[in-house]
């Protein structure tokens, strides 16, 4: 991960390095079974070089605490490692340039549960499993058993915490999804199968 961090610091694969102050690689427990993936650093993250440290980060930390987890128990990162100017949406070419870093993080952490925060992270992970992007409102809270980069992961998409700051009713949905995460964690003794296992001859 140290080498990956050094590569991100000196990365020039897209133009975002020109406007950002600090790249934000990610932080947390490298041995965690749970990985959170957000969209991109915002203003506070750009200044501090750490993921989810602004208002949305505060909410994420509260949600983790509500299910008995701390930030140190999980690994937190974003699809993009540099802040897009004015917090605009990531552009496809930026995701294409930056996502190999996320792929490598997935292979280093080898999480069994991935929680995607928002549509960009969800679309990216679904695409890595060969699936089409879907509306976040239609997939949030649903559990996907996927093969991503050769890893068997359980994907739990949910809203980005920032969305709940702008639309308070979404906070309840986020809380529901974090409770689902709690259930998933307690299910470690369970194994899920795909229906495809029963379609093979």
């Amino acid at each position: 991960m140290r080498q990956l961090t050094e590569e991100v610091v000196s990365c020039r694969k897209c133009s975002l390095w020109q406007s950002r102050r600090n790249p934000v690689v990610g932080e947390g427990n490298l041995n965690s079974m749970i990985m959170f993936i957000g969209e991109a650093p915002g203003y506070h993250e750009d200044i501090q070089g750490r993921p989810f440290v602004g208002a949305a980060g505060k909410l994420l930390t509260e949600l983790l605490h509500s299910i008995g987890l701390s930030r140190e128990d999980v690994y937190i990162t974003n699809v993009l490692k540099c802040r897009p100017p004015n917090n605009r949406d990531p552009r496809p070419e930026e995701i294409k340039a930056c996502s190999p870093y996320l792929d490598r993080q997935l292979l280093i952490i080898k999480p069994s549960i991935v929680v995607t925060l928002g549509r960009h992270a969800t679309s990216y992970i679904l695409s890595r499993a060969g699936l089409a992007p879907r509306n976040i409102s239609s997939v949030r809270g649903k559990i996907f058993r996927l093969n991503v980069l050769g890893l068997s992961i359980t994907l739990l998409p949910t809203y980005h915490p920032a969305a709940a700051l702008y639309r308070p009713p979404l906070r309840t949905k986020l809380e529901e999804d974090f409770n689902k995460l709690k259930s998933l964690m307690h299910e470690r003794g369970r194994r899920s199968v795909s229906l495809e296992d029963f379609l093979k001859s």
Binding site: S194, L195, E196, F198, L199
Partner: protein, 249 residues
């Protein structure tokens, strides 16, 4: 190729497409002179939809070959929601490869949506030896799923003495629903061996939206094997959902 289908109750198709849209994003109906079918996996590969409607179920059915009609179900649902109780539904594939959806009621309303060219691979039928088959009242099962959702994210199916049990529990509480012949909710049951399996309530809840299509549903399952939920449709049609189990390690 010609394809023109008229179905006497648009409302039935409204419920059908609404249910399918909860599980699948895009899929192809395949029309042949024998009837219409659709088989698709949900994006998570945990559930599968298998829909068949024979030509006899339609008021008019004109199809002179195999026609694939790939649709985006979000878009199709929006159109189907516009169908009223007394409308007839007409589906037609135009020469420009667009699907025309026509409601014939107080007015003739014609929508048109693009036909998607989706993969031609057809899914096989899941290979499962079911050990339990039960016919139940659809709305009783729908209520049981709602009960289970209060306390858990999944539900266990178990067999009892000539009865079917649905159990859900978590640190939030527990619930048990018993379906028996005496209570009227269980119509038939065939238990080859005592069987139990757990399934996701998220998916079951979406599948049970089809309760509006049929008063009776058939549940088939086996220990740690997929569940099949079958709704018999008017005119000899059938809508079956398969759902992968959550297995104990």
């Amino acid at each position: 190729m010609t394809l023109k289908l008229i179905f006497s109750e648009a409302k039935q198709w409204k419920y059908l497409v609404d249910t399918l849209s909860r599980l699948i994003d895009e899929a192809s109906f395949i029309a042949t002179p024998e009837g219409l079918r659709l088989r698709a996996l949900d994006p998570s590969r945990i559930a599968m939809v298998d829909f068949v409607m024979p030509s006899e179920a339609f008021e008019e059915y004109l199809c002179d070959g195999e026609v694939r009609i790939g649709v985006n179900f979000d878009e199709f649902k929006k159109i189907m929601k516009r169908g009223s109780a007394k409308d007839k539904l007409e589906l037609e594939v135009s020469e420009e490869r667009r699907l025309k959806v026509r409601f014939r009621g107080r007015a003739v309303r014609t929508f048109s949506l693009p036909i998607l060219e989706l993969g031609a691979e057809e899914l096989p039928t899941p290979r499962i030896s079911f050990t339990v088959e039960a016919k139940l009242l659809s709305d009783a099962v729908k209520d049981a799923i709602k009960d289970a959702e209060i306390v858990s994210d999944y539900v266990k199916f178990e067999t009892g003495e000539e009865c079917l049990l649905m159990k859900a529990s978590s640190d939030r509480g527990s619930v048990e629903v018993e379906f028996t012949r005496d209570s009227g909710s269980l119509i038939e049951i065939d238990i080859k061996e005592p069987s139990y399996a757990a399934y996701s309530l998220d998916y079951l809840s979406d599948m049970m939206k089809a309760y509006q299509l049929s008063d009776i549903l058939t549940i088939e399952y086996a220990t740690n094997k997929p569940l099949a939920l079958t709704f018999d449709l008017p005119g000899g049609g059938r809508l079956t959902f398969y759902l992968a189990p959550r297995m104990e390690a």
